[in-house]
Structure formats: C-alpha cells, structure tokens
C-alpha cells in the first residue's frame, strides 16, 4: 500500500462523513424529503472495499448506500441532487436517497427492502460465471438482513454453484432499533458461512487498512473460481437508524465508547499522524477541500431542475436494447 493510496482512503472517508453530515443537517431542517439513512461510523468499509475492487466488479448496495456510491466514484453532486429529487441526480429524481444507481461504475440499483438485493446480487455472480467475465459481485447488507430468508437462500445457492461473489455484512449492531443480541442468538455472523461450507471472516470494520487488505485477499480467490465468501465487518452506527431517529434507545456509555475509540476516521487520522504519513496541516487542507466540494454539490443540487412531469411514464418498460 503506497502513501497515495493511504491518503486516498482518508480522503474518501472524510468525503463520506462530510456528505452525510450535510445531508443529515438538511434533512433535520426539513429541506429533504423521504428516508435518509446515513453512514456515520461505517466509512472505512466503503472506502476499503472500493479501493480493493476492480473497475469491472459489480456492487449491490442497500438503503444505507451513499458511502458505497461515493467511494466508488459517483459524484457528490449527483448523490445530493438525487436526495433533492432533481433531474441531475443519479436516477434523475426517481429514487431519492435509497435506490441510487450508477451503471457506468458497476453500481446496481440499490434496494430499500432489507435483504432484498442479496438474491439479485447472487444472480449477477451467476451471469459472470456463465459469461466467464472474471467480474466479482459484491453484496452489501447489514446485520439485520442476515435474518431474512433471502440471505439463506442466496448463500446456499452461491455455495452450491461456487459463484464469484463476496457477501459483505456491515454489522453495525442494530437492525433499525433492535439490538443485535435481541435479533439473533449467534455472536459472530461470519460463523453462519459454515452452514454453507463457505469461508467466513470477522474483521474490525473501523480499521480501513484491515478492511482493504482482507477484501483484496479474498477478492483474488473469488475471482479465480474459489467460490463465495462471507465477510463480516464490525462497526457501530454512530447515528440512529435514519436521520429522523436520534437512536436514544442505545445506552449512552455504549455510544460514547464507540465514538471515542472506534470512530474510523479519528482512528485512521491518529494512525496517519503517528506514522508521519501526513501532517496536521495537510489533514486540515483535505478537510477544507472536501467541505468546499460538498458545499458546492449542495448549491449545484438546489439550483438544478426538477424532472419534467411529462416524463413520469417513461421507462416503466425497457424501450430499447440495454445491458451488455
């Protein structure tokens, strides 16, 4: 891993945090409609995983998706515009925050039904196997999604067929407002992989370098026919389930502990400073640049047009040849 990569990882995490801070603020001020699920505390996963993936790989995301898209290269302008329902958004205002899509970057339409996308992602891996295109599919979901039948059906089928897919569970310890201990008895979600005779690993998801390295390591095996893998990244949702939820059903001590010790950005900043990879001045510059970028994106979104009402019935059905 070179210095350039290390700094890029840091910048990506700061971009995600800054974007989410602003969206959360706008939502709470009543400027954004819909449902907004921010990525606070999970930034190292998106940054590390996307750094490891290749251009041809395909990603299926969920309702908490801004970090995945931003880290993959989707512009903050198009993400924020989508949250504002503007025609300049990733989906031209048809999605809002939850179902972003960016085909150019291999980002499938994200799903707002918990676990709903796991089967679809598995089908993408099936296509890669039949086409022998060496692309790997990544399916993101949370701890809550591992209780839904689709999780089981998909992992089982992927194992039986040896499909090129990495299932990534972002275990943030809460399924909406329900604590993990209340929604499943198993402690390590990665152990569920054993039920499918699939490798499963639990990794600190607040350590961006560990996330990157583990993903990179399993990726090449999966790409070369090694079959599916389940990665569990341990993180903590530093916010409520959605921006309208303060999350105060969680013990204060628990929140503070994670905030102080396991905030992935704070942790990585400390590490970079300790290793002299970067100076405080350089960090400050990055933070300022990012803040400016995100502010500009908000301005861009606000000034953008709404979609024309007469386009509403377009593309309910595919009107022309698409796909590869």
């Amino acid at each position: 891993m070179d210095i350039e990569q290390e700094i890029r990882l840091f910048r990506t995490m700061v971009r995600i945090r800054t974007l989410e801070d602003i969206l959360e603020k706008l939502f709470r001020e009543g400027k954004l409609n819909g449902h907004l699920h921010t990525y606070h505390g999970q930034e190292a996963i998106a940054a590390g995983v996307m750094e490891a993936l290749s251009e041809k790989d395909i990603i299926f995301s969920n309702h908490r998706n801004h970090g995945h898209f931003l880290a993959r290269g989707t512009s903050p302008k198009s993400i924020i515009s989508e949250c504002y329902g503007r025609v300049t958004g990733t989906n031209r205002g048809r999605s809002g925050s939850m179902y972003l899509s960016d085909k150019k970057r291999g980002m499938a339409v994200a799903s707002g039904v918990v676990g709903g996308n796991i089967c679809v992602a598995t089908g993408s891996a099936l296509a890669s196997q039949v086409k022998k295109d060496k692309a790997v599919t990544v399916s993101f979901f949370g701890d809550g999604a591992t209780n839904i039948g689709f999780f089981h059906e998909s992992l089982n089928m992927a194992a039986v067929w040896n499909l090129p897919i990495i299932y990534i569970c972002e275990n943030n310890h809460y399924g909406a407002a329900t604590k993990k201990e209340e929604h499943q008895k198993i402690k390590r979600i990665s152990e569920r992989a054993a039920a499918y005779d699939m490798p499963g690993y639990t990794i600190d998801g607040t350590d961006v370098i560990k996330v990157y390295k583990k993903t990179k390591q399993v990726l090449e095996k999966v790409r070369n026919g090694g079959g599916p893998v389940l990665l569990e990244f341990l993180v903590y949702r530093l916010r409520g389930h959605s921006a309208g939820d303060l999350g105060n059903y969680r013990p204060e001590g628990e929140q503070n502990k994670w905030k102080e010790i396991h905030d992935p950005i704070k942790k990585y900043k400390k590490e970079l400073l300790k290793m002299n990879t970067i100076s405080s001045q350089e960090i400050k510059e990055i933070e300022e640049e990012v803040q400016e970028e995100i502010n500009e994106a908000v301005d861009f979104a606000i000034k953008s047009d709404f979609p024309l009402s007469d386009t509403v019935t377009k593309n309910i059905y595919q009107e022309e040849e698409a796909n590869e």
Partner: protein, 324 residues
C-alpha cells in the same frame, strides 16, 4: 403444419431460443428430471452452465434471474407450481418491476418466469391449483402472458424470451397434453395482441388460458342458436383493449371468463375497459358479466372443486342467460 402438444410446443420454443441466443439460460427446481418436463433434454444439448437444477428456493430463483438479467443474460426460470411464486413475490414486486424505471432504463431486466397454474381436476387442492395471474395485474413494470393453445404457447414464449422486460408466463396444467396445428417453420407472436379465436356477432366472450377451450366448445354447441365471438387476450399486460372494444361494439354483449377468483380479477379490468370506452359504451345492450372461480380456497374433493372452478356447463348457462 403438423400437430403438436402445448408441452412440445413450449419445449421447442425454449430449445430454439437457447440455440439462437447463448445468453438464454434456464433453471428451476428439478427441471432436468421431474415435473411437467418443459426443460427436458436441454441440459444434454446446452450443458450444465446454462441449464441448472436449483435448491428449493423460490426467492433466490426469481431474485437471481433478476440479477443475471441485469448483467446481460436472458434467464427463463421455472416455478414448479404458480402457487409457489408468492414465496418470491418481493423479488418480482420490489426488484424486477422497479429496476428499469428507477434507473431510467440503464439497467434492464429481460427475464421470464414460467409457471403452471390452474386446476388439473386432479385434486391439487388449495396450494397446487390456484390461478394467480390476476394478482400481478397491479404491478406496473412486468408483463403477463397466458397462452391457451400450443400454437400460441410457442409463439408467445419466444417473444417473452426476446422481450427486454420481466415477463410472467403462466402455462395451464390442463393444456400441456392438448394438441393443435403448429407450423414447422419459425414464428413469433407479439405480446399485446389478442387473438379472435372464433368470429361471431351476438356476444363477445373474452376468455383466457384453459377457459378458451371451454368457451370454444360452448360456441360450437350453441352454434345454431347463438353466434359467439371468442377473444383470447393472450397477454394480460399489455392488454389489447382495442380488439375487445371493437368486438363489443359489434355484438353489444360481453362475458369475461377467467379462472382467477372473480373478486378483484382480470375480469373487472376487461369489463371496465369496455364500459369506460366512449367507443363501445353506447353499444352495450345489457350488463356485462364475469365468470371466475368462486371466492374460496380450492378444495380437494372432486365434487367441491367442480363447484369452485368455472365449468363448461356454467359458462353455457351464463351465455344462455344473456338471451332470455
């Protein structure tokens, strides 16, 4: 021309499409060795990559078809009985039907779900005999096909496979072994075009799937008294309203016969199309009627089942009532 069963016609359609386009893949539960046998013989010709038996996982069968379709495949998946399609309902309603629209046509979903529905007079009972196609009428973004004979089955399945949208293809168990003339040479039938199965001037009977067989027999039996026009819409979405409207304009009478439970069924949609059309409304001579299954679960015992499923006798009685 030579005679072919509905089953053979479907087999031939699938075979021809798999031969023609290597992105067509077929899978489902036990498809190579059990069930009605539409997929029999395919694995020997096209291999195990493109023809697969799956675990009993309807959610994953349908969901993976969505994902594979997004990545350039044309999956033709089988659900062993139409009743079981509901296990994977989320994948149809929330994934397949939404992806093209949410991504403004960037990601499309060219897939077919084939499944046998309806009563078999065999005692399939409550969970193996239902006609469920009407429930899907309420999902913008999918197409629905229900062929009534071997000729239509072949031409429509080929169109369904070539279509760039999710298509639900409902086959009828009573029809698998019924024969009709099917050309040797290749042909396709467009989705959205009704067939006038018999011309007539006294009453328009719109019938679907197996009910077409009953209605054609009744039309023959009543030939000397009543000149019945029998129309088969062939596809429920898109629905060829124009052919039906023109027919009612001519006959002034309408009966709709479909095996779904009558409440909330396709019948009402067809009757509405005719009554809300300025073109046909003023020609209607008497109230339109519908015949569906009774609004009950389907019981096992033959005497009970024949009360529930529309019979030829019931259809004949209802038609005669128009002319009392």
């Amino acid at each position: 021309m030579s005679k072919s069963t509905y089953l053979e016609a479907l087999k031939k359609a699938l075979y021809e499409e798999m031969y023609r386009d290597e992105s067509v893949i077929a899978y489902g539960e036990d498809i190579t060795r059990y069930g009605f046998g539409v997929n029999k013989g395919l694995v020997e010709k096209f291999g195990k990559d493109r023809v697969r038996n799956t675990p009993i996982s309807e959610g994953a069968i349908i969901g993976t078809a969505v994902g594979a379709a997004m990545r350039g495949m044309r999956p033709v998946v089988e659900i062993m009985f139409a009743d079981f399609i509901m296990v994977g309902m989320d994948q149809i309603l929330n994934q397949a039907a939404k992806i093209n629209y949410l991504s403004n046509g960037e990601w499309s979903v060219p897939m077919v779900i084939r499944t046998p529905e309806g009563s078999r007079w065999f005692g399939g009972g409550a969970q193996h005999s239902q006609t469920v196609h009407s429930m899907f009428m309420n999902i913008p973004g999918i197409k629905i096909v229900a062929p009534s004979d071997a000729y239509d089955a072949k031409g429509l399945l080929k169109s369904a496979i070539r279509d760039n949208n999710p298509v639900l293809f409902f086959e009828h168990k009573q029809l698998y072994f019924k024969e009709c003339e099917v050309p040797e040479e290749e042909y396709i039938l467009p989705l959205g075009k009704a067939a006038i199965k018999k011309e007539g001037k006294d009453i328009t009977v719109v019938a679907t799937s197996w009910m077409v067989t009953h209605c054609m027999e009744v039309a023959e039996e009543l030939r000397s008294k009543i000149d019945i026009e029998v129309i088969d819409p062939r596809t429920l979405i898109p629905l060829d309203k124009n052919t039906i409207i023109s027919s009612v304009k001519k006959t002034g009478r309408l009966l709709v016969v479909d095996e779904s439970p009558a409440t909330g069924g396709i019948h009402a949609e067809i009757i509405t199309a005719v009554t809300e059309s300025e073109e046909s409304f003023r020609y209607i001579k008497c109230p339109p009627k519908r015949i569906g299954s009774l609004d009950t679960p389907i019981p096992f015992s033959e005497t009970l089942e024949k009360e529930v499923i529309p019979t030829k006798e019931r259809i004949k009685r209802e038609i005669l009532n128009f002319f009392i």
